[in-house]
Amino acid sequence: MSENLMSFEDAMAAFDPAMGLEVHVELNTVSKMFCGCPTEFGAEPNTQTCPVCLGLPGAMPVVNRVAVESAIRIGLALNCEIAAWCRFARKNYFYPDMPKNFQTSQYDEPIAFEGWTDVTIETPDGAEVVRVDIERAHMEEDTGKSLHVGGATGRIHGADHSLVDYNRAGIPLIEIVTKPIMGAREKAPQVAKAYVAQLRDVLRGLGVSDVRMEQGSLRCDVNLSLSPAGAGTLGTRTETKNVNSLRSVERAALYEISRQAAILDGGGSILQETRHWHEDTGVTTSGREKSDAEDYRYFPEPDLVPVAPEREWVERLRSELPEPPRDRQARLQQEWGFSDLDMRDTVGAGALGLVEETIAAGCPPQAARKWWLSELARRANETGLDLTDLPVTPADVARIQALLDEGRINDKLARQVFDGVLAGEGSPDEVVAARGLEVVSDDGALSAAVDEAIAANPDVAEKIREGKTAASGALIGAVMKQMRGQADAGRVRELILEKLA
C-alpha cells in the first residue's frame, strides 16, 4: 500500500501539527494489578493465571498496593497533582483477549493529573528545552496475548483462528496521556521522541518498570492532526498504535505529518481512525474507523472501593523521589568532565547508571565510559543482552581498570579478564589467578625469552644491531607470542635493545 506523501518541508510550510502522546507502561510489580499471579515475562502459556485474571465467574479483584504507590510516584515525577479520592471504572467492550470483556481502568477520576515534564531537543542552534504538559496518568490492567493462526500472512486478516494466552492479562499498566503538544512545528517529531525517551529515563530512575519497548513494557500511541499554518485550530486526528521503539516514535510522527498534509493539500479530509505503524516498512496503515458511536459505558467498579491516598503517604513518596534525570545528567556531566558528546553517548546507550556506579567504585570517568560503551557494549550487542543484563558488575569493571592501572595486566589481558568474568569464572582477581593472566615483568623470565627470540631470528637481530630499532617490534611480537601475551611489552623492548646494543 503506498500513499501520497508531501515532503516534510512543504508540509511544515502549509500546516501546523498538534500531537498527543499516550504511553502505556507495564509496571514491574511482582504480582498482577488485582491478583497474586506472578508477572514474569516469557512464561509458558496460561501458567500465570487465577480465577481473577482469567475473569472466571465469581472472582473478585483486590488492588496491588505497590501498583498504586508506583502510579503515585510516576505522577509525582511528572509534576502531577495526586487525587485525594479516586475510583476504578469499568471500560466495557468485547475482545477475546480481555477475559471479563471490560477493562478495569480509571475514567474521570485518574490518580494523577495536570503535570508536566521538560524535554531537551537538539536544534541547529543548540539544545532547546520544550515543556510537555501531562493531562493524566491512570491505573489499569493489561490484556492477554493472541496468536493468529493460519492465513497467508500470519496477520490477523485471513487467520483461521486465534490462540489466547492470558499470562499478561491483569499486569498493572499506567497510561500516561499528554495534553495536545502545539507549536512545536517542524520539531514535533523530535519532541515526540525526546518525550518518550525522557519518560523512559524517568520511569527507569523510579525503578517502576523494565521500560523495554521491544518487549512491550513501554508502548506508545501517537495522536496527530494538522491545521492550516497559523490558524490555531485543531484538525481531525489519527491515532497511530503500537509504536514500539524510540526511533519509530519520531518516524511515525514524520510519516503522519507527510501523509495527512498530502491529503489535506489535495482537498481531502482526514478520517478519524486508528492507524497501525509498521516498523519494517516505515509506514502507517489504516485501521478501524473511530466512530462517535463508540460507547465504553464507563461506570465505577463496584467490586473495588475508592483509592484515597493519605497526604502523608504522598508526601513521603515525594520526598523519596530520585533526582530528575535531566538534573542528574547535568550534575554528573560536570562532575565527570564529560563532553556533550560523551554524555549523550552514555545516556543513549543506557549506561548512565552503570558508569556512575563504576566511577563510584573507584574507576576514572573516561575509563568507565570506555569499558561500558565500547568493549561491553560490543559484547552485549553480540549476545543480544541489555548492558544491565551482562553478568558483570560496575565493581568488576572498576577492579579490572585498577589492575590495569597497577600494571598487573595490560589491555589485552584485561579483555581476557572480561571473558572470564562474563563466563562466570568469578571476580576479576579470581580470573587473573585462575587463568594466570598477570603480566610478567620479572627480568629473569623475560631475559630468557628474549634470548630465545634473538636466537630464532638472527636476521632481525642483525638489523637492530645495525641501528634499525624499529625492527624490534618483530622480536617483541615473538616474545609476546611465546609468553602468551603476558609479558610487559615495554620491559621486553628495553631488554632487546640492551642485548643488541
Binding site: 480465577p51 472466571l56 466495557n92 468485547f94 477475559p99 467490586d303
Partner: protein, 521 residues
C-alpha cells in the same frame, strides 16, 4: 420394602424434620452420625425432588464422603465447627470446585469451577457436607425461579405455585425437608422473598458482612450471601460460620462480626423490652394482600406484647427504590455478564454459514452464543443496563439511580434515629401461580418492593414466617431491618417473633407443609 427398612426410613425421616441446631446436638451426643444424616437427606431428595425440583445437581457421593470425614474428625479431634456434619444445600450461583455451577443458565451448562467461593471454602472447613446445588432464576434475575433455564422450582406448599426467587431452590429445599440449611444470595430480596413464600427463614446480612468472592455477581453493589433455614437460630449459626472478613473481597468489612448466635438466643427468650420497632408506613397498606397485611399486623402486636415500643416511620424516597434498583442492577449485570462470550468456558454456539463463506468469526460466535445461551429475562436486563450506561443516558438514568441510593440511605438513617429496627411485610403477596406473571416483567418486579431498599442501602434484613394468609392458606413473611453492621438486632427481634408465633401456633409453621410423599411432578 421390608418392615425393617420401612422403620429405618421413618427414623431417617424424623431426622430430616429436625432443625440444624437439633441435628448438631444429635451429632454431639452420638445419637446419630453425619453419614446417617446425609443419607437421610439424600433419600428425602430422591423421594420428593422430582415434583419440587429444588436441586439442579445432587452430589450424593461427595456429600457422603464429606459426612464420613466429618464423623472421623469428630471421633478423632472433635468437630471443626458448631455445624460440623450437618448437611447443606448451596445456591447454584456460588462457585464450587469440582461441582457444576450453572447459575440456572444454559450458557454455563457443564461448567465446573476450578475454585471454591469463600463461603463454600468455609462450609468445607466447617465440615458441612454439600448435598448439591439449588435451582434459581437465571443469574438470579427473577422473583419466581421460573426464569431458570432448567425448569421452575415448585413451592412445597402448593406445587402449582412459585417458591419465590431468585433463590426458590434453596428455600424450597429447606421447606420440603430436603436440606436443613441452605445458602442463598440476596440482591433485591432473593433470600427473603422466597423465605416469605415458603415459610422459611432468610437473612440478607449487611453488605460486606459475608464474602462475595466466588458468588457469580448479578449486581455487585447489591449482592449478599446469606442463610436460608427453618429457624432463626439455625440462620445465626450458619451466618456465624460463613461470615466475617475475607481479604479476597475488597468490599468485605474488616471488623469483628456482631454475635448473631447470642442475639438469636437472647431473642428466643421472647423479651423485647427496651427495643424500639419502627413500622415503615410506605411498606404497608395499599398493594399488600389482605392476609399478608393481617399476619404482619398481628406480628407487630406480638412484638408490642413482648415489650417492644412501636413507632411509625416514613421513608419517602422508597417510592423511587424500585426504579433505582431496576437501573443499577441491569447496569452492573450487563457488564458482569459480558464475560459469558464462548471463548474461555461455558457454551459455544457456532452459527451456520453458507457453503464457501468464511468461517464464523469470534464476534459471530459470541453473538450467537449469547442469543442462545441467555433467556429472555437476562436479555431484557442486559439491554436495559446497556441503555442505562450509554453515554447519552447515563446521567438521566444510572447517575440518578445512584443519587436515589443516597436518598434511601438518608431515609434509613433518619428512621433509625427513631427505631432500633424497622419492620414490614417481606413481600406484598403470597406465592402466585406458576406462569401468572411470566410475561409481565413489571408486575414481577413489584414483588420486590419491600425487600429492595435494604439492598440499596446495604443494611441487614431477615424474613421470618408470620403465618398463613386466610384467603389462600399460603405462608407470609415478616421482615425486620437493622442499621448496617447491626445484624444482631434482626436476629434478636426475628427470634423473639418466631418464638411468640410458634407458641401461638402450637408448633412450627413448616409442620403444616403438605406431605410430599407420593407426589408426582
Amino acid at each position: 420394602m421390608s418392615e425393617r427398612d420401612e422403620r429405618g426410613a421413618t427414623e431417617r425421616d424424623g431426622l430430616t424434620r429436625r432443625t440444624a441446631a437439633q441435628l448438631a446436638d444429635a451429632l454431639a451426643s452420638g445419637e446419630t452420625t453425619s453419614v446417617a444424616l446425609t443419607q437421610a437427606y439424600l433419600e428425602r431428595i430422591a423421594a420428593v425432588d422430582g415434583p419440587v425440583h429444588a436441586f439442579l445437581h445432587v452430589d450424593a457421593e461427595g456429600a457422603l464422603a464429606q459426612a464420613a470425614a466429618s464423623d472421623r474428625r469428630r471421633a478423632a479431634d472433635g468437630p471443626a465447627s458448631a455445624l460440623d456434619g450437618v448437611p447443606i444445600a448451596v445456591k447454584d450461583v456460588l462457585a464450587t470446585r469440582g461441582l457444576p455451577t450453572t447459575c440456572g443458565s444454559r450458557i454455563l451448562e457443564g461448567w465446573v469451577p476450578p475454585y471454591d467461593a469463600t463461603v463454600v471454602d468455609r462450609l468445607r472447613a466447617g465440615g458441612l457436607p454439600i448435598l448439591g446445588k439449588t435451582n434459581m432464576d437465571e443469574f438470579a434475575m427473577g422473583s419466581s425461579t421460573e426464569h431458570s433455564a432448567y425448569g421452575p422450582t415448585h413451592n412445597p406448599w402448593d406445587l402449582d405455585r412459585i417458591p419465590g426467587g431468585s433463590g426458590g431452590g434453596s428455600a424450597a429445599a429447606v421447606a420440603a425437608f430436603e436440606a436443613p440449611l441452605a445458602l442463598g444470595t440476596d440482591t433485591g430480596g432473593s433470600i427473603r422473598q422466597p423465605g416469605a413464600m415458603t415459610g422459611t427463614v432468610g437473612v440478607k446480612p449487611t453488605y460486606g458482612g459475608v464474602s462475595r468472592y466466588g458468588l457469580v455477581a448479578l449486581a455487585n453493589s447489591l449482592d449478599q450471601v446469606g442463610p436460608v433455614t427453618r429457624t432463626v437460630l439455625d440462620a445465626a449459626l450458619l451466618h456465624e460460620l460463613v461470615g466475617g472478613h475475607d481479604p479476597r473481597d475488597s468490599t468485605s468489612i474488616d471488623q469483628p462480626m456482631p454475635d448473631v448466635v447470642a442475639a438469636a438466643r437472647q431473642g428466643a427468650t421472647g423479651d423485647l423490652r427496651g427495643v424500639r420497632v419502627g413500622v415503615i408506613s410506605e411498606l404497608t397498606g395499599e398493594g399488600y394482600q389482605s392476609g399478608v397485611q393481617s399476619r404482619f399486623d398481628e406480628g407487630v402486636k406480638l412484638l408490642v406484647d413482648a415489650g417492644a415500643e412501636v413507632v411509625e416511620v416514613s421513608c419517602p424516597s422508597f417510592v423511587h427504590a424500585l426504579a433505582a434498583y431496576y437501573l443499577i442492577l441491569p447496569a452492573e449485570a450487563s457488564s458482569n455478564l459480558a464475560k459469558f462470550d464462548a471463548m474461555r468456558y461455558g457454551l459455544r454456539v457456532v452459527p451456520d454459514v453458507a457453503e464457501g463463506a468464511a468461517p464464523p468469526s469470534a464476534e459471530d460466535v459470541m453473538r450467537a452464543t449469547r442469543d442462545k445461551g441467555f433467556g429472555d429475562e437476562v436479555k431484557r436486563r442486559i439491554i436495559l443496563g446497556t441503555y442505562a450506561l450509554s453515554s447519552g443516558y447515563y446521567d438521566a438514568y444510572y447517575g440518578q439511580a445512584q443519587k436515589v441510593r443516597t436518598l434511601i440511605s438518608r431515609d434509613f438513617e433518619v428512621a433509625f434515629e427513631h427505631a432500633d429496627v424497622l419492620v414490614s411485610p417481606t413481600a406484598p403477596t403470597t406465592a402466585f401461580a406458576l406462569g401468572e406473571k411470566l410475561d409481565d416483567p413489571v408486575a414481577m418486579y413489584l414483588n420486590d418492593l419491600a425487600t429492595i431498599p435494604a439492598n440499596l442501602a446495604g443494611i441487614p434484613g431477615i424474613s421470618v414466617p408470620s403465618g398463613l394468609a386466610e384467603e389462600d392458606g399460603l405462608p407470609c413473611g415478616f421482615q425486620v431491618l437493622a442499621p448496617a453492621a447491626a445484624d444482631d438486632r434482626v436476629y434478636r427481634v426475628g427470634a423473639a417473633l418466631e418464638r411468640l408465633l410458634i407458641r401461638q401456633w402450637g408448633g412450627a409453621l413448616l409442620d403444616r407443609v403438605p406431605s410430599l410423599d407420593g407426589a408426582h411432578a
